[in-house]
C-alpha cells in the first residue's frame, strides 16, 4: 500500500502537467479546421472533457492520506526564473473541483456551440481550453511568476470568451469592465507578492513561506490579497463586473467563470492567507467574515429582484462567494484563537461549499444555456411553462435549484449546515466581544439561505412552471443528448455529495490536515456525518433520502388505493374572471416585489408607473446598485479628470517632448549629485 502511494506521488504531478499540456494541444487543434462543428465540438470538446476527468482523478489521488507534496521545476520561464510547480492537498482539492465540474461543462459545450454565434468555433475551442489550462496552472503554480502568468492568461482568455459576440455594444462594455477589474485585481496581487517575499527577492512560494514579515507588512500583504482575489471572486464592493460579464458570455463560459474561476480566486486566498502568511491576527478573520457576510446578503437580495435569468444566477454567485469567504474568515478567526478544530470545521464548510457551488451553479448556468437556445429569450418575463417542452432540462435544473436553495438531501444543504454548525460553536471563542458578535453571523447566513430559497423558487417557477408567456415558447425543444449528459453529470455530483457527504469530507480532510494540522471528526458511516460530536449534531443524507422516498411512496400508494377511480378533472378556479391568459401569471417583477419593498434601501430604483387613463400603459422599473453610482462613477470621473490633466502634456511639439526628457535627465542627475 505504501509502495503504491509512493509511486503515485512521483507520477501525479507529471501526469497533471501532461494533462494540462494536452488541454493546450486540444485548443490548438481547434484552429486546424476552425469552422467544422463536427470536428471542433463533437470531437475536441469531448476529448477536453476526458482530460478534465483525468485532472479530477489526479487531484483526488493527491488527497489521500500519506500523500507528500510533490514539487517540480519546469524548463520554461525566464533564464534565471524557471517555473516551479507543486501539487499538495490544497491544489489537489481544487484540481478535483476543476476537473469534475469542468468535465460536465465540456460535454455540455460539445453539444452547445454552433455556427453563427460570434467567434468561430475553432477559436472558441482554443480560448476555452487555454482558459481551463490556465486555471489548472494557477492552482499548480509554486512561484509568484508562474502564478501571475497563469492568472493573467486566465483573465485574458476569459475576456475573449466573454466577448464572443463582440459586435454587441453591451457585451463590449461588459468585457471592458471585466478586463479593467481583472487588471486592477492583478495589480494588487503583484504588489502582494512584492510584499510577501520579505526582502529576499526570491519569487518561489517556498521562500515566501520561510520569509518573516513584520506584522504591518503581513497585514499589508493580506489586505492586498483580499483586494486582488476579492476582485476576481466578486466580493462587494468589487463585484460590479460580475453581473455584467456572466450574462454576456455564452452559457458554458458563464458556467466556467462562475463555477470554476471564482473558485480559483478562493484557492488563491487560501494559499496566500493560510499557506504563505500562516494566518494572522484575529482581525483578518473578522474582516473577511464581515465582507463575506455582507457580500452574501447583498447577492441574495439583488438576485431576488432580477428579471434576467443569467443576471439572477450571477448575483446568486456573488451570494455564494460571500458564504465561502465568510466561512474562510471564520476559519482564520478561529485559527487566530488557536481553536484548530473549529477552524477545520469552518474551512471544511468553505471548501465543500466551493465544490458544491461549482457543481450546482454550473448546472444552472448550463440549463439557462439550453433554455436560451430553445427559446432565444433571456428575460424571465417572456418565459414560462417550459417543463412540458423541455422535461429533461427541467428535471435536471430542478436538482440544481434545490441544491442552491440548500435543501436536503442535496449537497447545498450539507455545506450550509456545516457552516451553521461552525457558527454555533463560536460562543466558545475566548474574546469578550467577538464571542458575542460572531454568532450573529449565523443569523445572516440563515437569512441568506432563506433568500436563496426564495430566489430559486422564482427562478424555477417563472421559467419552467405555469403557462408559456409567449406563443413562441410552444416551439421550444429539449436539449440534445450531449447537453443532457453534461447536465446529468453535474446533477449526479450534487446528489452524490448530498447523499454521501462523508466522501467529500474525507477528500477535504487532506486539505485541513495540510493547512491547519487537524481534521474534523469522521462520521460513523459514509452516509452519516457528525463533524462536531455525534451527540451534538449529525446528518445522514441517505437516511433522509430514504425517508423522503418512503413517505412519497406511501402517499402514492395510499392515494392510489383510496382515491383511484374517484379522480375528477375540472378547470381550475379563476377567481371569477371571464378569461385567464398566460399574462395574468405572477411575473418575475411581481414575485420579487416583497423583497424589493423590504430591502428598499439596498437598491437605487427608477420606476415609471403609468397613469390610470394611459391608453398604452407600460410599467418600467430599473434597479441599480448604489456602489455603481456612489463609488465607481465618481472614481471614473476622477480618473477621467486626471487623464485630461495629463493630456496637457501632449503638445504635439517635438521641442517640448525633447524638453521633457532633458528635464527628466537633469532632475535625475541632480539626485546623483
Amino acid at each position: 500500500m505504501h509502495g503504491v502511494s509512493a509511486l503515485t506521488t512521483t507520477t501525479a504531478l507529471t501526469a497533471l502537467l501532461v494533462l494540462v499540456a494536452s488541454w493546450l494541444l486540444i485548443g490548438a487543434l481547434g484552429l486546424v479546421q476552425s469552422n467544422r462543428i463536427g470536428w471542433v465540438a463533437r470531437t475536441l470538446f469531448p476529448l477536453g472533457a476526458l482530460v478534465a476527468l483525468g485532472v479530477a482523478g489526479m487531484g483526488a489521488m493527491s488527497l489521500g492520506t500519506g500523500f507528500a507534496a510533490q514539487t517540480g521545476v519546469l524548463a520554461f520561464g525566464l533564464p534565471d526564473m524557471p517555473f516551479h510547480v507543486r501539487l499538495d492537498a490544497l491544489s489537489g482539492f481544487f484540481l478535483l473541483l476543476l476537473g469534475s465540474a469542468g468535465a460536465g461543462i465540456s460535454i455540455f459545450a460539445a453539444g452547445y456551440f454552433r455556427h453563427g454565434e460570434g467567434t468561430a468555433p475553432g477559436l472558441l475551442c482554443l480560448q476555452y481550453h487555454v482558459f481551463l489550462a490556465s486555471m489548472a496552472l494557477v492552482v499548480l503554480a509554486d512561484d509568484a511568476y508562474l502564478f501571475m502568468v497563469a492568472w493573467e492568461t486566465m483573465a485574458l482568455s476569459s475576456y475573449f470568451l466573454v466577448t464572443t459576440q463582440h459586435r454587441i455594444p453591451e457585451i463590449q462594455r461588459a468585457g471592458f469592465l471585466y478586463l479593467l477589474m481583472a487588471h486592477v485585481g492583478a495589480l494588487a496581487l503583484l504588489l502582494c507578492f512584492g510584499v510577501l517575499h520579505g526582502g529576499s527577492w526570491l519569487m518561489t512560494f517556498d521562500s515566501m513561506r520561510a520569509a518573516t514579515l513584520s506584522p504591518a507588512w503581513a497585514a499589508a500583504a493580506f489586505l492586498l490579497a483580499l483586494f486582488g482575489f476579492g476582485a476576481k471572486a466578486g466580493l462587494v464592493p468589487l463585484h460590479v463586473w460580475l453581473p455584467e460579464a456572466h450574462p454576456a458570455a455564452p452559457s458554458p463560459v458563464s458556467a466556467m467563470m462562475s463555477g470554476l474561476m471564482l473558485k480559483v480566486a478562493v484557492y488563491g486566498m487560501l494559499r496566500v492567507s493560510f499557506d504563505l502568511l500562516h494566518a494572522g491576527p484575529w482581525w483578518w478573520g473578522m474582516l473577511t467574515l464581515a465582507v463575506g457576510l455582507g457580500t452574501a446578503l447583498f447577492g441574495a437580495v439583488f438576485a431576488a429582484v432580477q428579471t434576467d435569468m443569467k443576471r439572477l444566477l450571477a448575483y446568486s454567485s456573488i451570494e455564494n462567494i460571500g458564504l465561502i469567504f465568510a466561512a474562510l474568515g471564520l476559519a482564520l478567526l478561529c485559527y487566530a484563537f488557536n481553536m484548530r478544530l473549529l477552524a477545520a470545521l469552518a474551512l471544511t464548510a468553505a471548501l465543500l461549499h466551493a465544490l458544491n457551488h461549482a457543481l450546482f451553479k454550473s448546472l444552472l448556468f448550463l440549463a439557462t444555456g439550453s433554455v436560451l437556445h430553445a427559446t432565444h429569450e433571456r428575460s424571465l418575463g417572456k418565459l414560462g411553462g417550459l417543463i412540458r417542452r423541455m422535461p429533461w432540462v427541467a428535471a435536471l435544473a430542478l436538482v440544481g435549484t434545490l441544491s442552491l436553495a440548500g435543501l436536503p438531501p442535496l449537497n447545498g444543504f450539507v455545506s450550509e449546515w456545516l457552516l451553521l454548525q461552525a457558527f454555533l460553536s463560536t460562543p466558545s471563542i475566548p474574546h469578550a466581544f467577538i464571542n458575542m458578535i460572531v454568532p450573529l453571523g449565523a443569523a445572516v447566513v440563515a437569512l441568506t439561505a432563506a433568500l436563496a430559497g426564495y430566489v430559486m423558487v422564482k427562478f424555477y417557477g417563472v421559467i419552467f412552471l405555469g403557462q408559456p408567456r409567449e406563443p413562441s415558447l410552444m416551439q421550444a425543444h429539449d436539449a440534445g443528448w450531449l447537453e443532457r449528459v453534461g447536465l446529468a453529470w453535474l446533477a449526479l455530483g450534487c446528489i452524490f455529495i448530498g447523499v454521501f457527504p462523508q466522501a467529500a469530507l474525507d477528500a477535504i480532510a487532506g486539505v485541513t490536515q495540510t493547512l491547519l494540522g487537524t481534521v474534523v471528526q469522521r462520521g460513523p458511516a459514509p452516509w452519516w456525518i457528525a463533524p462536531v460530536a455525534q451527540a451534538q449534531a449529525s446528518y445522514s443524507g441517505l437516511w433522509l433520502l430514504l425517508g423522503m422516498a418512503g413517505v412519497i411512496a406511501m402517499m402514492f400508494v395510499l392515494v392510489r388505493r383510496m382515491y383511484h377511480g374517484r379522480v375528477r378533472r375540472v378547470p381550475p378556479w379563476n377567481c371569477g374572471y371571464p378569461e385567464l391568459t398566460p399574462r395574468m401569471q405572477d411575473t418575475a417583477e411581481g414575485f420579487g416585489q416583497p423583497i424589493r419593498h423590504m430591502f428598499g434601501p439596498f437598491f437605487r430604483m427608477e420606476r415609471e408607473v403609468p397613469a390610470a387613463d394611459d391608453p398604452a400603459p407600460r410599467y418600467r422599473i430599473q434597479i441599480d446598485d448604489h456602489f455603481w453610482h456612489g463609488l465607481y462613477l465618481p472614481l471614473a470621473r476622477i480618473v477621467g479628470w486626471l487623464a485630461d490633466a495629463l493630456s496637457m502634456l501632449q503638445r504635439g511639439r517635438l521641442a517640448v517632448y525633447l524638453m521633457y526628457s532633458f528635464l527628466t535627465l537633469i532632475v535625475l542627475l541632480v539626485f546623483v549629485l
Binding site: 501632449q650 503638445r651 504635439g652 511639439r653 521641442a655
Partner: protein
C-alpha cells in the same frame, strides 16, 4: 599619477576643450551646412584624442576605435548628411526657437552643472583622461539642448549624432573605451539610425511639403 604623461594630459585637455568649443559653436550656428562641417570637426577631435590615449596607454583596440571614428564620423556621416541636404534642398538658415545669446547662457549653466556632476565620478577613475569626463557630459547636454532648440528635422539628427560623440568621449575618458563589440554595435546603430532618419525626412516632406517640425503639431490628438 605618472609624471611623464603630463604633456599628454595637457594635450588631451586641449582636445577636450576643443570639443567643447565646437559644441558651443554648433549651438550658435544657423546654417545647416556649417553644422555638418562642425560635426565632422568634432569627429576629427575625437579621433585625435582616441589616438592619443591609444598611444599613451598602449591599447591595441583603441587604434581600431580611432580608425572607426575617422571613417564613420569624419567621412561617412557628414557625407550622408550633406547628400541628404542637397537632395532635400534645404541649405538655408534655420533659426533656433530661442535666441542665440540666451541659448549660450543656458549652455554655460549646463557646463557648470556637468562639471559639478563629474567631480565625484572622475576622482574615482584611474585613467589618464579622467579629468575630461566633465567636458564629455557637457558635450552630451549641449547637444541635447541643441536638439530642443532647433525646429528643422536635419538639425535634430545632427544633435543626436553630437550626443553620441559626447558619449563616446565619456567612454574613452573614463574607461579607455568600451569593448570593441559594443563600439562596433553602436557605430552600426548610428548608421542605421541615420538611414532611418533619412527615410523619415522624405516621408515628412512628402506629407507636409516641409521639413519644419512645426508641421508635426497637426498630429496632436484633441
Amino acid at each position: 599619477m605618472m609624471p611623464p604623461l603630463n604633456l599628454v594630459t595637457q594635450l588631451l585637455h586641449v582636445l577636450a576643450a576643443g570639443l567643447l568649443m565646437i559644441s558651443f559653436s554648433m549651438l550658435a550656428q544657423r546654417r545647416t551646412r556649417r553644422l555638418i562641417v562642425l560635426l565632422a570637426w568634432q569627429g576629427v577631435v575625437l579621433t585625435a584624442s582616441t589616438l592619443l590615449v591609444a598611444v599613451t596607454a598602449h591599447l591595441q583596440h583603441l587604434y581600431y576605435s580611432a580608425a572607426l571614428t575617422l571613417i564613420e564620423k569624419v567621412w561617412l556621416m557628414p557625407w550622408i548628411l550633406l547628400r541628404l541636404m542637397r537632395r532635400l534642398g534645404i541649405e538655408g538658415d534655420s533659426d533656433p526657437l530661442v535666441n542665440i545669446p540666451t541659448l549660450m547662457l543656458v549652455g554655460l549653466g549646463l557646463v557648470i552643472f556637468a562639471f559639478g556632476l563629474a567631480q565625484p565620478i572622475s576622482s574615482l577613475a584611474t585613467t589618464v583622461t579622467r579629468q575630461t569626463l566633465g567636458i564629455a557630459m557637457a558635450v552630451i547636454l549641449l547637444a541635447f539642448l541643441m536638439m530642443i532648440a532647433r525646429h528643422k528635422a536635419v538639425t535634430q539628427v545632427i544633435g543626436f549624432l553630437a550626443m553620441e560623440n559626447g558619449l563616446f568621449f565619456a567612454a574613452t575618458s573614463t574607461t579607455y573605451g568600451m569593448p570593441m563589440v559594443v563600439e562596433l554595435g553602436i557605430a552600426l546603430d548610428l548608421l542605421v539610425g541615420v538611414f532611418i532618419f533619412g527615410i523619415f525626412f522624405f516621408q515628412i516632406r512628402e506629407q507636409f511639403d516641409s521639413l519644419d517640425l512645426h508641421q508635426l503639431e497637426a498630429l496632436k490628438e484633441d
